[in-house]
């Protein structure tokens, strides 16, 4: 078996491609072959991709199909919009290329199934960018201890992810015109995956409420800056997920998980990971030490590709996230609990 993956990168509009791409390039079992722009790439994205490709000494293609024709790639990191994912990721799967994908993975369950069908048919590996609630150096050991049954059977869980730095990092006015959801689409998957991992079950029903009080462009397009979701899990567990983007400058998001079990209680107060605090004008920074969640997530993806295993954050996890997101959107819109079987 070839123990080195030939990898490529597609899409540079999203800043996080730098994180995922860098982790993929630096992995000992990968060899970067090329980079390419996403379909309908902006000038910004094209320039970012060209510059990075030059730094890495690999070719850059304005058209990603050209890259795929010219290079035999095993895996690709894709950072494009949720709307572009189904077509692009499905096409990569058809070429038997493993995909690591930026979230949100898809805008709807129907669109997700387009690419999921191709991924399943070809048996390729798929993972996506939801590192924090599985791979941070606080979540990882905590989930391991949960799995060992140290607090008994989980009964209740609360997940909170409050990112700051709004409105600077909110969706652009242009993105708002077509987006169906804003901050829940962004941060909700962290909570959904955490719930799936904690309970070992899927979500049965959700009751969601959206607030839009902080950003005029969100209000204009009826998009949420904060979401509060009550969940019932299959098997009887319950809990809440609160995610949002606040207006305050923040040194890292407020990420926490509380799990109440039949024999004990688990509290993660620094969900983003154990960190040092560096105080320096104009604001403090949190420096997470040890292996970053992104590095571990990418390593998990690479290992899954090499060994043809299911990654920790898998296609099934993605399906769960997309379906719960759809249920959350419908619940917030219709003002009633939505059962996942309705989706």
């Amino acid at each position: 078996m070839n123990r080195t993956l030939n990898v490529g990168l597609i899409g540079f509009q999203h800043g996080h491609q730098r994180d995922y791409g860098t982790a993929l390039i630096r992995h000992a079992a990968t060899r970067l072959q090329a980079m390419a722009a996403e379909p309908e790439a902006s000038e910004f994205s094209l320039e970012a991709g060209r510059t990075w490709a030059l730094e890495c000494g690999v070719p850059f293609y304005d058209n990603c199909h050209e890259m795929l024709e010219r290079h035999k790639l095993d895996a690709v990191s894709v950072a494009v919009t949720a709307k572009q994912n189904p077509g692009l990721v499905g096409g990569l799967a058809s070429r038997r290329i493993h995909v690591f994908c930026e979230k949100p993975v898809a805008e709807s369950p129907a669109e997700f199934e387009i690419m999921a069908e191709k991924i399943s048919a070809e048996g390729t590996v798929f993972s996506f960018a939801a590192a924090v609630s599985v791979f941070s150096n606080t979540f990882r050991p905590a989930l391991a201890r949960l799995r060992r049954g140290e607090i008994g059977a989980p009964r209740v869980a609360h997940f909170r992810y409050l990112q700051g730095n709004g409105p600077e990092y909110t969706l652009s006015e242009e993105s708002c015109r077509t987006a169906r959801m804003a901050e829940f689409a962004n941060f909700g998957p962290y909570g959904i995956i955490a719930f799936n991992k904690v309970f070992g079950r899927l979500v049965e029903s959700v009751m969601a409420r959206f607030a839009s009080a902080l950003y005029p462009h969100y209000q204009k397009h009826n998009l949420e800056d904060l979401a509060v979701v009550s969940l019932k899990m299959e098997g009887g567990g319950v809990g809440t997920i609160t995610v949002g983007r606040t207006t305050t400058p923040q040194c890292g998001p407020d990420v926490r998980l509380q799990v109440m079990g039949s024999k004990g209680f688990l509290s993660i107060e620094q969900g983003n990971g154990r960190a040092l605090t560096l105080t320096r004008n104009p604001k403090a920074r949190r420096l997470v030490y040890g292996a970053s969640p992104v590095t571990l997530l990418i390593d998990d993806f690479v290992q899954a590709c090499l060994n043809r295993e299911t990654p920790e954050i898998s296609l099934e996890q993605a399906r769960s996230c997309v379906r719960v997101q759809e249920a959350v959107l419908r619940s917030a819109t219709e003002g009633r609990p939505i059962f996942l079987k309705e989706i």
Binding site: M207, D225, L226, V238
Partner: protein, 362 residues
Amino acid sequence: MTLSGSSALVSRAPRNDAMKAVRNPVRVAQIGCNGVAHEHARAHRLTGNTVLAVVCDIDVRKGESFATRHSVPAFCSDFDQVLKRDDIDMVDIVTSDHTHADLVIRAAQAGKHALVEKPLAMTALEAGKITEEVEKSGTLAMCAQMMRWDAKYRTVVEQVHAGAVGRPTYVQIWGGCPRFWSGENWPEAASGGREDFLLFREGVHWMDLLTWLIGEYPDSLYTIGHPGDLDVPLWEYFSVNMRFPSGVLALGESNRVVKPGNFPFVETGMCVVGTEGTIALEPSRQAGAWIHQEEGFSLPGYHVDMHPIDDRFAGEIRHFADCILTGETPSVGLDHSRRVLVALESAARSFRSGNVEGACYE
């Protein structure tokens, strides 16, 4: 009104013929000797404006022992006899929840002011009757919401009211379960076996705090729960997802599913997100000190050993006695306490129906 007070009659506008003057310090009969009654008896020594003159309980042995332990000069096992005493201005009702409404109404009818442990009553309807009787009698009555006199929660509310985070958009209150129930100690009489009793029992704490902070009452509620241990017939966990008329979203939690030793949850946490900032009150950080033993964490001096100025029980009693002495309206209004019960009844309906429920406060 200052904390100090010599024994003297204080004149104020009479509410009716029976209420022409009140002694300072206010002379109090405490009704009930169980559980938090000890905190009240201790707190009366710290208020500066009350003196505990009589203790009353239907259990003679327990009541006499309580009176001796707290140096209360008189014990009486008959509530009606207490109400007939001219040397008593106020009753401090610390009995089982289901007796509150009857005792407050009888106190009002006898011309006695009444401080009553939460909940004010078992239903909003009962609370409405209390309001009517108290207004008719010209006495004062207040539901004891000790969290309002706890410096940490009060500071959060005062900061929010002062505009520290702009307009609130999200409030979460969680935790707060210092004791848990087992097959031996669950509140059988008080609960009447209602499986949603905890929602109500703890909800009167956090719903009061929440509505005080936000300044309005939820108009849409959705409740989830977990039964917890099967040896207790009451569900041990509830979470209520709420929307307020102004659009504020909130989560409130009634929780006894966490077992002893799980330190952070013995205190209540709060998170307020506003248009201009956030406030976080962290359960694990607010204690300042804790003890780690083989069986887990505990807080030294939980409910005890507080300075008189900080003591939340003394704070609520002192405030109510001040209102009696000055004729001012207590800060925890009876109609507010009734509305808190209306909200919790809606939350309980949601738990039973599995649907979102509205609330009608009129």
